[in-house]
């Protein structure tokens, strides 16, 4: 029997966790089996070939029609060279090598280059620049952290293997996995639910009173087990998520009140008294207990998601979270890390920083880089209607930007480089289908803790399909040719 051709240690090009232990079975240039990936990763590896255009498209008489690569490159270069304030946006779902060419192109056309962190962890970047942050790599968390807090973040949905690879469900060198504890808690919870249902049914037929809630729900203190010397997980969110189900404790904060809660914790850490019964819907007794749990931990880590960056307060929420971590370091070791979304959004920040000095929202229209998010960030530029053309690479702003911004994006000439058909590519004037980084093209990506990892090429792309980097290089070359012609004319 011949063994299946297995490719191991593949890096998954989906989320910022960048799991690099994926195993793929590839037969006749097709991925047939995926091992170790989460549901989203598996969906990408198995479904990458669906809904893909195989030829460049160009809009003629209102319809997108197939065209040649040369024609598409020529048209794109004309659009970019003739515009006065183009935006070059996306970049988080491609390799650092492609992003580097993107920055070069932005310099050449004098536009604004921005990446998806502008609508993700942009406020976190701003706040980190203001305050600084004590962070570490995920390996440190895996081996040492005994208290893990997910705040405004739902890794079960957005980073499905984060808990299993880096935090509570992983067997670290100095910390044990809490998987078995979770399984027994889950069993107890299911039994309790069954008993409640039975009691309710019995209550309905008038035999037994219905229990209103469980003891722990009524109790205005944290479970004492949280103070024991063992690994634990706390989730703070505005609604109960699947991650909250896994956690040892779930703290529900009222929407848009994270800032108050974070600052209340800072006050309590300094032993100040708060003259209120509750903050953001959480009783003070619970907050006092939470502060005890934080201070008594040996190595705490706060992972925060876009629940903090997208709600009221935005960067100020992150200010408070970073300051809380800093304050806690007077008592114990406490670290903080943003849960970066796309697999190479961190790489987009890093490449942009080493090339221009700034991590996102970089305006090169004056001939030198300027950085002022709020002014030079793409959503603001679009909402104000200032851009006159756009190049979107590996991103779908039509699906994810607010309506006003999208209206102004699609009314101007729009070029899209993306392996898949997206809402943005449907509205574009020129569409380049590209090879998928991490599946059909190799490259480099940065994990959320800023560790660079190699992306593998596991299958060959279709004939004539180029990588994002190659397409950008061709457009850049054509733009330079046009500009030279203009100068010489």
């Amino acid at each position: 029997m011949t063994s299946m051709p297995v490719i191991s240690n593949v890096t998954c090009p989906v989320c910022g966790s960048l799991c690099d232990d994926i195993e793929l079975v590839v037969e006749k240039n097709v991925i047939t089996k995926v091992k170790n990936a989460c549901g989203v990763g598996e969906s990408k590896f198995l479904g990458y070939s669906t809904h893909r255009p195989l030829k460049p498209l160009i809009r003629k008489n209102g319809e997108l029609v197939e065209t040649s690569l040369t024609e598409a490159v020529k048209k794109s270069a004309e659009i970019l060279a003739n515009s006065t304030y183009p935006i070059l946006y996306g970049w988080s779902n491609t390799s650092c090598e492609a992003i580097r060419v993107g920055v070069e192109l932005a310099e050449e056309v004098g536009g604004v280059i921005d990446n998806t962190s502008t609508v993700c962890h942009g406020p976190s970047v701003l706040s980190i620049q203001d305050i600084g942050f004590s962070t570490c790599t995920l390996g440190q968390v895996r081996h040492r952290a005994d208290l893990v807090i997910y705040w405004g973040s739902n890794p079960w949905s957005a980073h499905p293997r984060h808990i299993e690879r880096y935090t509570n469900f992983t067997e670290g060198r100095f910390r044990s996995s809490t998987w078995n504890r979770y399984i027994s808690t889950l069993g107890a919870y299911r039994t309790r639910q069954r008993m409640q249902r039975a009691a309710k049914l019995a209550g309905e037929i008038g035999q037994m009173p219905v229990p209103e809630s469980t003891a722990s729900e009524k109790n205005e203190h944290l479970p004492p087990a949280l103070l024991q010397k063992q690994r634990k997980m706390i989730v703070v969110d505005v609604r109960r998520t699947r991650t909250a189900d896994i956690a040892d404790y779930f703290l529900q904060v009222e929407p848009n009140k994270d800032y108050e809660l974070l600052q209340a914790l800072r006050a309590l850490i300094r032993n100040e008294e708060l003259d209120v019964d509750a903050v953001a819907g959480v009783p003070i007794e619970i907050l006092e207990d939470l502060v005890d749990v934080m201070i008594s931990s040996e190595f705490g880590v706060l992972f925060f998601g876009v629940g903090l960056t997208m709600s009221a307060g935005k960067l100020r929420n992150i200010d408070a979270a970073l300051s809380l971590t800093r304050d806690l370091n007077q008592f114990t070791k406490f670290l903080i890390m943003p849960m970066r979304g796309h697999y190479n959004v961190t790489g987009a920040n890093i490449v942009s920083t080493w090339q221009t000095g700034y991590p996102y929202a970089v305006d090169i229209s004056h001939g030198y880089p300027r950085y002022n998010p709020g002014e030079t960030s793409v959503t603001d530029i679009l909402t104000r209607g200032e851009a006159d053309a756009a190049l979107i690479v590996a991103s779908d702003p039509v699906a994810h930007f607010p309506k006003g911004a999208v209206e102004n994006l699609v009314k101007n000439p729009l070029i899209v480089i993306d392996p898949e058909t997206t809402a943005t590519s449907l509205m574009a004037d020129v569409v380049f289908p590209s090879a998928i980084s991490g599946i059909e093209v190799e490259g480099t990506a940065y994990r959320m803790d800023m560790v660079p990892l190699p992306l593998k090429k596991v299958v060959k792309p279709s004939k004539d399909i180029l990588s994002d980097q190659q397409i950008l290089q061709r457009i850049l070359r054509e733009v330079r040719r046009l500009k030279k012609e203009e100068r010489e004319a």
Partner: protein, 132 residues
């Protein structure tokens, strides 16, 4: 017709992730994204059952999506719509000078719209963003 004032939250779900990776034109993506998770008590108040259409209106626009019963309760007065083109037409574009629009905690009104269809991606784009 009953109306409910809510706080609108948008975000990721694992099904949204799977749907977008499978293909944005797929039925799977549409089913995972053009939905609104509502607390069962709020659904009772609105007289809406699972899979019936509801209309969500904010200061910035309105959209019709499929109501689904939230599994993790209680969170009365808060509804959840996964990221996607349907959520995007009703979110708050105000960035407060940070570059970041307000995607969470937006004041909204939810009402039953059982006689209205949930648009598919291309219809939604046609309705909201005409390309000339």
């Amino acid at each position: 017709m009953p109306k409910l004032k809510v706080s609108l939250l948008t975000g990721r779900t694992i099904r949204q992730g799977q749907g977008k990776e499978y293909g944005k034109l797929s039925e799977r993506y549409w089913k995972s994204v053009a939905v609104c998770e509502i607390d069962p008590e709020d659904m009772k108040y609105l007289g809406v059952k699972d899979n019936q259409s509801v209309k969500i209106t904010t200061d910035y626009g309105s959209v019709v999506v499929r109501a689904v019963k939230s599994l993790r309760t209680p969170h009365r007065g808060a509804v959840f719509v996964p990221y996607g083109p349907w959520a995007s037409v009703i979110v708050n574009p105000e960035t407060h000078g940070t570059g970041m629009p307000s995607f969470k905690g937006i004041e909204a009104i939810v009402e039953p719209a059982s006689d209205e269809q949930v648009l598919h991606l291309q219809e939604l784009l046609r309705q909201h963003y005409k390309k000339e």
